[in-house]
């Protein structure tokens, strides 16, 4: 019928219009004030996990994550402490080239890396996108990610 299809469409939009006032039609989340909960697996920037018992990083600077990274975003310098144990002297992740694929986290055999729950990572300078060891360190209880296991 001529005109019926148009009326049907108009009815749908009118229903939605009324629904936003009396029903639960609104789907928008008022972002800065209102935030959706992050799923536990959220794949943000990788973070280093600190052992709460010893207060040291779990990372033993084996370099597997460096090799696993598709973009070469991880820079690692190995240092040795008093007891001849290796630790990351420098551990930088270039947030500008990192694509948050999570392959480094999967590759890590010591569960020393996890996907962090951060997503507002914009900055005015490129240098600020290079995250160093201190920035990346998180105690394990703060990490909601399943990758930490």
């Amino acid at each position: 019928m001529y005109g019926l299809g148009i009326l049907k469409g108009l009815w749908v939009t009118l229903k939605h219009y009324i629904d936003t006032y009396i029903g639960d039609g609104i789907f928008t989340v008022q972002y800065p004030e209102e935030r959706l909960p992050l799923p536990p697996r959220f794949r943000g920037n990788p973070v280093l996990i600190m052992d709460t018992a010893t207060g040291k990083l779990r990372c033993v600077a084996c370099g597997i994550c460096v090799r696993a990274c598709p973009n070469g975003s991880i820079a690692l310098e190995v240092g040795t402490d008093e007891s001849k144990k290796k630790f990351p002297e420098r551990y930088d992740i270039n947030g500008g080239t990192c694509m948050r694929c999570g392959l480094c986290v999967e590759a890590c055999p010591f569960d020393a890396l996890a996907s962090g729950p951060y997503y507002e990572l914009a900055s005015y300078r490129r240098q600020e996108l290079i995250y160093d060891k201190h920035y990346l360190t998180l105690p394990p209880d703060k990490i909601p990610s399943y990758h930490a296991r």
Binding site: G9, V12, T13, H16, Y21, G25, I26, F27, T28
Partner: protein, 355 residues
């Protein structure tokens, strides 16, 4: 007290006139009142544009399950002001090798007829800028001037999208003018006058409900044809092909920025409101209606039609340019001609019966 509310605006103007006559000669007081009324009307139209944009964004937002603007001011009401500030501070670019005269004339030419239309629209009882006895003719003549503005803008911009948009606009407006005028004739024939005030007064029967849209079948048909053509005349969805975003970017105002762009938008929105107002005047009884004051009735009806315009925009896709032409010439024109014929027969029958 109710009398005062009922005839609020004419009473204010009379009181003002009487007050001014205390120290001015008669013609001076009249002139002052006229200047004042015109100023208020023009400022009111600028404010109306703001309300319209805000309403449209709110309503379409709601139709799309969003809130619409809600950051600037309560309910986002200051959004148009923020937009205005943005428009004023933007760089005003004139494209290289543009036809400067046509390019700069475009925005002015579109705003003048859009505002001039309001001179003859009766907003309420005794609230009309000028009760011209050829009001309808004036409306038709003035509102088609917008074509020149769109063509000037499209040609002057030295942009292919603009040119396409300008040509589409010219073709569209010229074609839709014909059925529009013919559908307006129905109201003119029924009222027996071309004066807008007379047409409204003629619809005052049945306690203010003798609107022409209730004159089945000619009234509704004429109203629908007028409204369709009006929507096409002001380039709004589903007839927004001269500025079809997905096809020709923004049509004739692709190259405009800042305040010139704002003038185009303003012209368009005010014209769209004028289309609603004229439809109300000709077919929906203007300010006629029971109980409520005339200006309230007029506002209610006009804003309802404006809501329909927003609603259409929020729902419908747009026609193609040749389908648009075919719709005007092959469907609307014959129907409106037949409608005039029917109207004539109806009027003759009534005349014979009442003789």
């Amino acid at each position: 007290m109710w009398d005062l509310v009922y005839d609020l605006f004419p009473k204010i103007s009379q009181a003002l006139n009487a007050f001014l006559r205390g120290f001015l000669p008669g013609w001076g007081a009249d002139l002052a009142v006229i200047v004042l009324v015109v100023t208020v009307l023009l400022l009111g139209l600028a404010a109306l544009f703001m309300v319209q944009t805000w309403l449209e964004r709110k309503v379409i937002g709601r139709m799309q399950d969003r809130f619409g603007p809600n950051r600037v001011g309560p309910l986002g009401m200051l959004q148009p002001v923020a937009d205005g500030i943005k428009m004023f501070t933007k760089e005003d670019v004139t494209p290289l090798r543009a036809d400067r005269l046509a390019y700069n004339l475009g925005p002015i030419l579109i705003i003048v007829p859009a505002m001039a239309v309001y001179a003859v629209i009766p907003f309420g009882k005794g609230m009309v800028g000028a009760d011209v006895n050829i009001g309808v003719l004036y409306l038709v003549a003035i509102s088609s001037l917008a074509t020149i503005a769109l063509l000037a803008a499209g040609w002057g911009s030295n942009n292919k999208y603009s040119l396409l948009g300008g040509l589409r606009a010219a073709a569209q407006i010229v074609s839709y003018e014909v059925p529009m005028v013919l559908s307006m004739l129905t109201a003119v024939m029924l009222a027996g006058s071309m004066s807008m005030v007379k047409i409204v007064e003629a619809q005052g029967g049945l306690f203010g409900l003798g609107w022409y849209i209730f004159f089945v079948p000619i009234g509704p048909i004429a109203f629908l044809i007028y409204f369709t053509c009006g929507v096409a005349e002001v380039n709004r969805a589903p007839f927004d092909i001269p500025e079809a975003e997905s096809e020709i970017v923004a049509g004739f105002h692709t190259e405009y920025s800042g305040m010139k762009f704002a003038l185009f938008m303003m012209g368009e929105y005010i014209q769209a409101f004028a289309v609603s107002a004229i439809a109300v005047t000709l077919f929906l009884g203007g300010w006629q209606g029971p109980v409520l004051p005339p200006y309230v009735w007029f506002g209610l009806k006009t804003f309802s039609l404006w809501f329909v315009l927003m609603w259409l925009r929020g729902t419908l896709p747009r026609l193609r340019v040749d389908q648009l032409m075919a719709f005007a010439w092959k469907f609307l024109l014959p129907v409106s001609l037949a409608n005039i014929f029917l109207t004539g027969i109806g009027i003759s029958i009534v005349q014979i019966l009442t003789k």
